[in-house]
Amino acid sequence: MRDFAYARAGTAESAVRTLADPGTSVIAGGTELLNWFRLGIAAADNVVDIGGLDELRGIASDGGDLRIGALATLNEIGEHPLVTQAAGALASACLQAASAQIRNRATIGGNVLQRTRCPYFRAEEPLPWPCNKRDPDSGCTSLAGRHERQAIFGWTQDCVAVQPSDPAVALAMLDAQADVLGPAGPRTIPMRGFHLTQREAADAGQPMRETRLEPGELITGYRLPASVADGQAYVKVRERASYEYAIVSAAASVRLDRGLITTARVALGSVAQRPWPLTLAEAELPGTPLTREALIPVIERAMADAAPLPQNGFKVTMARNAAVRALLVAGGAS
């Protein structure tokens, strides 16, 4: 790891001021940043530590909203009664996100900013193959090589990677807002639009951009609208029973009246470079019985625009099944 200089921030504002220098990185838990430094994914001259900022800590009920500070760890969120009651899908996503050790360090602020697990991207420098994320305009090795774990929505010829965060999928499903502090002051970013697909980034003229967070901005927390009456679930499909990244995942919340869905929310994970809310299904589900047979065609219609790569057609079926299972579990039907 290359050496860097270090300072502890006394306030969020003082931390943000240091970020005006593009050579400065923020550290909170550090579980991603230290590996970026080791691999050469990121390099910093200065690292500002926000880990001691009490103003970014805490999980509290704030009027009708649930407010989660950026420094809340995945374990704190996963076992906090306010979260397990009002945002069960988020609690479950946090507890399934990593090992117990990592979950004691990793924060919810940093978690959504983790980068893809694409093995071509996660190689140690000097990179032995092209990767547009690591070396712009060099090409995408995964597209011509192995890509069975990659995107089925929103990819381009430049990059086919997926965003691996579990909590981000639950935050998007729950219509959470990220509170952000930047040089111009605070603002909010809806988590349904926080991450960008490669297509969305290219259309905006910045093909390698991954989020709507501007340089120099810091996530300070999240606000979740209360949805206590809804059953929720987070289904993660992976190659091991525990401690593994998702092949696909799905977060769902369901409200029922006499066996029929009245409102439902559902989002897929690890199918694109952002969480993938199935908005068509959310519009169509009210009035649908909570059965596998009734849900499958609704989810299939909402996924009709899936564009799998040659090696990952199975993810379309797997994601459909994860969405159906998440809805069934959320509604208490399985």
Binding site: M1, R2, D3, F4, A5, Y6, A7, R8, A9, G10, S14, A15, R17, T18, I27, G29, G30, T31, L34, N35, F37, R38, N46, V47, V48, D49, G51, A98, S99, A100, Q101, I102, N104, R105, R240, A241, S242, Y243
Partner: protein, 164 residues
């Protein structure tokens, strides 16, 4: 107020019950510092990326990967390594005793991390049954695959000293 970035940082922490002050380069991980500077080699450097759990230590009682923790992030904290588990007279910690009784290792490389993870797992109240131990100990890989014995040892130690 402008923050001052420095390349040498003084850190005061408690290590296995002993207060000490050290000066480190900011990039020094807790794992490297323990092994290279302090000479405590119980925590192992397996993957050095948070995947294997052999570097697990307790920071303020919570288990963490030493390879993903900087010493500068431990200011004012209490760190426990496997060297700090046994009593002053050398009597084994109940979890160590259970690992010995249940033959919960083969090569022993992962054992220091398993022990600290188990101590925390029990204290957290996550050692209720086989399934919960397997889930909450999944961050500690054992390539000899002593998992059944490790699970049995953790459950036995938990029965003697239940957590919260």
């Amino acid at each position: 107020m402008t923050l001052e970035f420095t390349r040498r940082v003084e850190v005061t922490l408690r290590l296995n019950g002993r207060d000490l002050t050290t000066v480190v380069s900011p990039r020094t991980t807790l794992l490297d510092w323990l092994r290279e500077d302090i000479g405590l080699t119980g925590a192992k450097k397996g993957c050095n990326e948070g995947a294997c759990g052999t570097c697990t230590v307790l920071v303020d009682g919570r288990r963490m990967n030493g390879c993903l923790t900087l010493v500068v992030q431990c200011e004012g904290r209490s760190v426990t390594t496997v060297e700090g588990l046994a009593g002053a007279g050398g009597e084994l910690h109940p979890v160590q005793q259970a690992f010995a009784e249940f033959d919960a290792f083969q090569c022993g490389y992962c054992t220091p991390g398993q022990l600290l993870s188990a101590v925390a797992c029990i204290a957290e109240g996550h050692a209720a049954d086989d399934a919960s131990v397997r889930e909450w100990m999944s961050g500690n890989i054992c390539r000899c695959s002593a998992y059944p014995q490790i699970t049995a040892a953790v459950l036995a130690a938990a029965r003697k000293e239940p957590g919260r």
